[in-house]
Structures are given as structure tokens and as C-alpha cells.
């Protein structure tokens, strides 16, 4: 008769643990450890990113003064907006920032999330490329801030949960002991 023996006690314990977890001699332990992996995995996997909701253009009937005001003849009118991530109710960027402190433009009117500026005669125009560059950098900055915040939060939540699990294990040891 062949008698199986393990070479080292640690291997013996490892095989026993694997047996408990995988073959289910102690069914509860198997479920418990499985749940430890399944439950957090719901939160670790990346969520689908939703596209930002673009706010509809202003309604002239609600903001008549904004639409009535016109730039002087020969001046170019610009309407800029403060963009928000509506789903998260977070500030995204303020493209009016490009015109606010620009000596070539002057403020004309504002309504809700939009402002109207006029390009002074002979003034240097802010090009579309510059506006797009500003938007892109602002969005990248916003995304970086969100990512950092989420990373900190995730670290906090999982550290706290992990520490609590270890302490629960200690309580279990004292209970069983």
C-alpha cells in the first residue's frame, strides 16, 4: 500500500487550503472567500463613460434682453458658454474666460450659461483653433482631477474595507479559540 506524504508542512497546509477552497470540504469558507472577490469586482471594473449632455441653446422668449442687445456695426459678436457635465452636475470649463480679460473684446450681455461679447473694431480676434485648444486643455484638466479624486476615493474605500476584514478575522479567531 502506497502512503502519500508531503515533503514540507507548508506545502501540506497549502494543499489543504486549496482543497478547502476549491473542492469545498468546508462549503461556507469557499463561498466566503469567493464573495470577497466577487463583491469588490463589481466596483473595480471600469464603468461605461457617458457622453456629456450638451445644454440646448437659449430660448429667445425666455431671455429677450440677451437676444435684443447687438454689437455696434462693424463689430463681431461672440457668444460663449460655461459648460457643465450635466450628469454629474460638475463644472467643466468656462470658454468665456477667453474673452473676459481680453482687451480686444467687451462684454455685452449674459443669460443663464451664456455671455455675449463684441470684438472691438480693429481688435485681434480669438480664433476657433484657440477656443478648441482651450476647451481641450480644460477638459483634460477636468478629467485628470476626476481621475485623481476617484483614485484617492477608491484607495480609501478598499483600505478601510480591507482593514475591517482583517479585524473581523481577528474577532473570529478569538470566537473560535
Amino acid at each position: 500500500m502506497v502512503k502519500m506524504s508531503f515533503a514540507s508542512p507548508s506545502l501540506d497546509n497549502g494543499v489543504r487550503l486549496a482543497y478547502i477552497l476549491l473542492l469545498g470540504k468546508m462549503k461556507f469558507c469557499k463561498f466566503f472567500f469567493a464573495s470577497l472577490f466577487i463583491f469588490p469586482s463589481f466596483f473595480i471594473f471600469p464603468r461605461p463613460i457617458r457622453a456629456d449632455v450638451i445644454l440646448p441653446p437659449l430660448n429667445p422668449t425666455n431671455y429677450p434682453a440677451f437676444f435684443e442687445k447687438q454689437c455696434q456695426p462693424g463689430e463681431k459678436e461672440v457668444i460663449c458658454r460655461v459648460e457643465h457635465n450635466k450628469a454629474q452636475q460638475e463644472y467643466l470649463y468656462d470658454e468665456c474666460h477667453l474673452f473676459k480679460n481680453n482687451p480686444h473684446y467687451y462684454f455685452l450681455a449674459a443669460a443663464f450659461d451664456s455671455s455675449k461679447y463684441c470684438l472691438r473694431a480693429g481688435g485681434k480676434e480669438v480664433g476657433q483653433a484657440e477656443i478648441e485648444r482651450y476647451r481641450l486643455s480644460a477638459i483634460q484638466k477636468y478629467m485628470a482631477e476626476i481621475a485623481k479624486g476617484k483614485k484617492d476615493e477608491r484607495l480609501f474605500v478598499f483600505s478601510v474595507a480591507g482593514t475591517a476584514l482583517v479585524l473581523l478575522y481577528v474577532i473570529r479567531r478569538t470566537n473560535v479559540g
Binding site: 466566503f32 464573495s35 466596483f43 474605500v157 473570529r172
Partner: protein
Amino acid sequence: MWVNYYLWPLLITVIVELVIAFPFGFKKVKEFLAIVLVNIVTNPLLNFAFRMIAARNYFAFLLASEILVIVFEYFLLVFTFPQRSRKRLLALSLVMNLVTSVLSLFPILFGLDFGLIFR
């Protein structure tokens, strides 16, 4: 600060669940501590999920997450107190989480704008 989003719900949930655990025979300090720790595991994880996942159907998401929490807390309780009756622990997990989730609906139903407090 986002930490407040986790601390207040956790604190209120722990208080409510400790009160519920008392009639279930959880009277020792060690047992109370275990209830607190079980909530420290599940409550921040659940609040994290609510912050990260923009659910289309809020109540369906709440229901699914509550079921998950009941099961997970049951496992944690059985793990911590293997000598106790599993039926009793399941009942405890069920009652604790049902009460806190019903209470969590009050701010929403009454239009108070401080989101979910209990979970």
C-alpha cells in the same frame, strides 16, 4: 469633501444596526464591534458604487445592491460568529438592511436633498 459622503451614512447606519442587533442577542462589546466592522466593509463599498455608477433606474440599482449587501453581510456574520445559528444571522442581516434601506428612502420620498443616508 468626499470623505463626509462616507462617514455620515456609515455612522447613522451603524447606530441603527446596533440597536437592531441588540434584540438578536448581540450584547457583548466584541459582538457590537463585529457589527460595526461588517458595516465598515459594506457601507463605504456601497456608497462608492453609488457615487461611481450613474444608474439609470435608481430604485432597481438600490434593490440589487441591498440584496447583495444582505448576502455579503450574512457571509461576514457567519464567518465571524461560526458558532451562532445561521438562520438567526440571516434574519439579522435581513432585518438590519431592510430597516436601513427603508429609512434611506425617507429623504428621497420627502424631497430632502441629502441623498441616501442609510444603506
